[in-house]
Structure formats: C-alpha cells, structure tokens
C-alpha cells in the first residue's frame, strides 16, 4: 500500500503548491507507515527539487493535448490502483478540486476536501479541516479503505531534510482523449494567485472610489503581495470578482493579511481569519476587525498607507 500525491506542473515547472503537497505526502506516509509516490503529467524541469522533502518516486504520465480533467483523473486513478494507494492527495485548488471527485468515484473512496492537518492513526484514521468558512475546525474519521483528500494551501510549512534523488518512471498508463475542449487560458502575469499568496493586501469600501487604488497597488508591489478586496467593492465593480475574499468569496490563509478600510464583518472575517498575522488599518476605533487583528493602526488610510509603503521600501532596501 502507498500514499500517492498529485504533483502540479505548469509550463514544465512545479507549481508552488507542489512543494507543500510533496512534503505533506511524505509526512503522511511516514505516519501511516507506507511508501510515498508522486504522479505528474508531463515533463517537469525542477522535479528533483521535491527530493529535499524525501519524495523519491514519481510516476510521469505522458500529456495528451486532447485529454480533459475526466481522462486525467482516470489515468491518475489507474496509477493509484497500480501503486495500491490507500491515500491519494491533491491540492485544494482548481486543479485538485476538479480531479479529486472523479478519482474518488473510480476508487470507491471516501473523500475529505480542504484538510489542514496531517492524518492521525491513534483512533482510526482521523484528520481535520476548517468548516463554516473558517469559523470552526472539524475532526473527521474516514472509514473507507481508500481515501482521497485535498490539502488546503499554506496548511503545513515544507521543511527540507536530506536531499534524495527523485526517480522518474514513465508510466504505461495513457491519458485518453476527453470531451471538454479548452479553447483559451488567460492568466494575469506577475502576481501569485490569491489562494496561494503568502502576503495579501486587501482593501474595502473605506477606499471611497476605485481611482484611489494606486496606493494599494503600490503597497502590494513593494511588499510582493497579492491584492484582495471585500465583497461590496467587487459587487459594485471597483475591483474584479476574483479578488473578493470572505465567506462567499475566496477563503485564504496567508502569512500576512493587511486589511485597509474594511470593517471586519463576520462574513469577511470567515474567509480570512486563518491568516497567520493580521494588520488592520481603519479610522474607526470600534471597527470589529481590530478584535481579529494582531496589529492595528487607527487612522486615516490615505495618510497611513503611503507611510507604510515608504517604511517597507526602506526596509527592503537595507
């Protein structure tokens, strides 16, 4: 039996999530007393980087330009069967969430998506995830012999141990032609996508008007952060929908979340309160967000934000 982890590659290189996934899978395998194996679609130039987490075997599937998420899932399920995998791990993102269900059905597996802890075997197979959009944590027992899970980003911090050599095996399993034809992929260049970002600068209705955003963009740029926003500013079209964080937007858990001119409504907090460190800039001392913050600045954001940007620039230069 083994643990199988789906390694995400994009344009021939590892996606950032793959580091955390490889580390998590090796740790899980150690807890379960099983071997660990990765599966990747296509060539991946920096796959040896995963050796630092102790991953030593990767099955490589030949890409098929006419494949789709269903046929990739079928091939991954085939690898899982060949490796007698009892635990299959995906990232809890647009890739993992579209492959996991199909793999789980093919393997008659139980599923748990969005886990944020390593499994435990002290009392059956137990594992936890955040529920109610971050307002609580639930520990689940999984009863099925085969389990398929997805790992919420930024849940464990990958630590490198001894560097091992990763053996790549070209799998005999083929990705069949699919029925879904992707005709276009558009990505915004440069910034780290919000769900994977470690640093996030977010702004809300306190910004008063969309024209005022350059101070937010500048702060984000100096910090190397991704921008986010509260729901009302996305709803009125000041910012794109994909920036909307919270209970009905993207749920994130970055290392640093800077909230600017956001009151901290319960639905907003739900999606961001798992952030490691929260800084709140708001002119209202009664703003509920201060209760969820580590650091607070109670002042006019149009005064504070440029000062923070300048201080960070000075810090980065030294």
């Amino acid at each position: 039996m083994s643990v199988l982890v789906y390694i995400e590659a994009q344009n021939g290189k590892l996606r950032k999530a793959s580091h955390e996934l490889a580390y998590y899978a090796v740790k899980s395998a150690a807890i379960l007393g099983l071997d660990c194996c990765g599966v990747v679609v296509g060539d991946c130039a920096d796959i040896q980087d995963l050796g630092q987490y102790g991953l030593t075997q990767v099955e490589q599937l030949a890409p098929n330009a006419n494949g789709d998420n269903m046929t990739i899932a079928a091939a991954v399920a085939g690898v899982a069967q060949a490796k007698s995998a009892s635990l299959v791990i995906f990232g809890h993102n647009s890739i993992g969430k579209s492959l996991l269900p199909s793999v789980a059905v093919k393997l008659s597996a139980g599923t748990l998506s969005g886990v944020n802890s390593l499994p435990s075997t002290d009392n059956g197979f137990t594992i936890s995830k955040t529920v109610f959009s971050g307002k609580a944590i639930a520990t689940y027992e999984m009863h099925t012999p085969v389990k398929v899970i997805s790992l919420m980003g930024n849940s464990v911090k990958p630590e490198s141990s001894e560097v091992e050599n990763v053996t790549i095996n070209n799998s005999d399993i083929q990705i069949a032609d699919g029925t879904i034809k992707v005709i276009e992929t558009r990505r915004e260049d440069g910034t780290v996508p919000l769900p994977e970002a470690e640093l996030v600068v977010s702004a809300g209705r306190g910004m008063k008007a969309p024209d005022n955003w350059p101070i937010i963009d500048e702060l984000a740029e100096v910090l190397g952060a991704t921008t986010a926003c509260s729901r009302p500013v996305a709803d009125i079209g000041w910012r794109p929908h994909h920036e909307h964080v919270g209970q009905t937007g993207v749920a994130i858990r970055p290392n640093l979340y800077i909230a600017i001119g956001i009151s901290g409504a319960i639905q907003h907090l739900a999606g961001v309160n798992s952030s490691k460190t929260i800084v709140v800039i708001n002119k209202d001392p009664e703003a509920p967000f201060f209760k969820a913050a580590d650091y607070g600045v109670c002042a006019d954001l149009f005064d504070v934000v440029p000062k923070l940007t300048a201080a960070l620039r000075k810090f980065k230069e030294n």
Partner: protein
C-alpha cells in the same frame, strides 16, 4: 432545456457557531438557515435565465429531511418550477452525490448545476462526484456559461485567471460568482411557491464514508497591538522580528 439545480441548506452567514454533546454536534439552537448562497445566487439564477431564453424547466434537487422543505420553498420562490427532495439526512459528500446521481440517472437533464461550495462544510466537490457517478463531463467554478444547441461554452475560474472551454451536453457544472446576479423574490413569488410541487423520493442505501468526531473553534488572537500612523517603521520591524512574516 431540462435543468437540475442541486441546493443545500446552510446556516445564515451571521449565525453563531457553537457545539453540543461534548463538541461532537453543531448546535442548531436559534440558528437561522438559508439556501446556500452559491446555489441560490448563481446556479439557480443562471438556470432560470437559460430556461427563460430557451424554454424548459428548472428542477431543484435536495437531499434532506422534511424539515428542509421551507428552504426548498425559497428556491421555488426565486423561480424554480418544481423540486425533488430525496428523503435522507445528508451524511457526506459521497452520500449526497450518490442520491442526486441515482435520481438524475432516471431523468434526462440537459444540465446539472451545483454551487461552487457550501458555506458550512466548504467541500466544493459534490458536483464533481455527481458527474463521476453519471460519467458526464464536469466543469467546476464556472463564472460564465452560454449554450447553443447542445454545445456549452464555459468560462471557469482558475488561480490567477480563467479557462474557456467547449463541451457537448449533458454536463455537470459548479457555479461561482459572476455566473448570474442574485434575484430577490417578490411577495407574489413567495405565495406562488407554496403551490409548486416538491416530490419526495426514497434514498438509495449507501455505506458511511466519513463522520465528524469533534469540533473546535480556532484559537483567538492574543489581543491587538495598536500603533500610531507615524509608527510605520516600528510596524515593519514587528512584522519582521516578532511576527516573522516579511
């Protein structure tokens, strides 16, 4: 077009989350319930728009006990034509998907829509499980959808961008923000919804896959450290040395 919209019941977004029975059960005392926002605002409304443009009917699919009929009525008030309730407690994602799939297998739906995720258990995989059970194509996190004949053109949200694809129906999709605009039912719609049929069907038997054994609340913050607007160098120092996030 015949469209199935899968709907879930979730606690209202401001509900206080507490637990009972030694933190093993969600405390429902005083909790108000709503239709899951992704199901109601995006999946259901886009289904209604498609049927308004092309003819057909929108059926709501729900797995839950009779007590949930009041939630189903909210979807009927928004405009769905009728509903099918599979009479069982929703126990896990697999179980719910098997129930919906076993119903859908006997009907000829052109499109099955789910919300992107529920705001209580945040699983985001039920649509995919239904598709896999029915061996239909599945496209997740759809923020734009057009139909021409049996061909669907879909825009799907991915990290940092979008992916546009084409596929022939029938298909299963999950709806994300942008797919449609929320509709607020009028008094007349709410009255009419009371006369729309909810067919109750028996659940198929399934084996348990997962159970929640314990709940806990996240660790609260230690208290906020306040700084003045002119202390930004100090804030940067704290973020670097104390919080270690820079």
């Amino acid at each position: 077009m015949k469209i199935l919209v899968c709907i879930s019941k979730t606690p209202e977004t401001t509900a206080k989350i507490t637990f009972t029975d030694g933190d093993t059960k969600f405390n429902e005392d005083g909790v108000q319930y709503i239709l899951n926002p992704y199901d109601e605002w995006y999946a259901l409304v886009r289904a209604l728009e498609l049927v308004e443009a092309n003819g057909g009917e929108v059926v709501l699919g729900h797995v839950g006990p009779a007590a949930n009929d009041s939630i189903i009525r909210k979807g009927l008030a928004v405009g769905a034509h009728r509903a099918v309730r599979i009479d069982a407690d929703p126990l896990s994602a697999e179980m719910v998907a098997k129930q919906i799939a076993s119903h859908a297998a006997t009907e000829n739906y052109d499109l099955i829509l789910c919300g992107k995720e529920t705001i209580d258990y945040n699983g985001a995989i039920i649509g995919g499980l239904i598709a896999a059970e029915l061996t239909l194509p599945y496209v997740s996190f759809v923020s734009h959808l057009e139909v021409s004949g049996s061909e669907f053109t879909l825009t799907r949200d991915i990290e940092g961008g979008v992916e546009v694809s084409k596929v022939n129906g029938p298909i299963v999709i999950s709806a994300s923000k942008g797919l449609a605009e929320q509709r607020i039912p009028k008094m007349k719609d709410i009255m009419m919804s009371k006369r729309k049929p909810i067919d109750v069907i028996e659940a198929v038997s399934t084996d348990p896959t997962t159970t929640i054994i314990k709940y806990s609340l996240p660790q609260g913050k230690q208290g906020v450290k306040m700084l003045g607007p002119d202390d930004m160098d100090e804030l940067v120092r704290l973020l670097n040395e104390e919080a270690k996030v820079l």
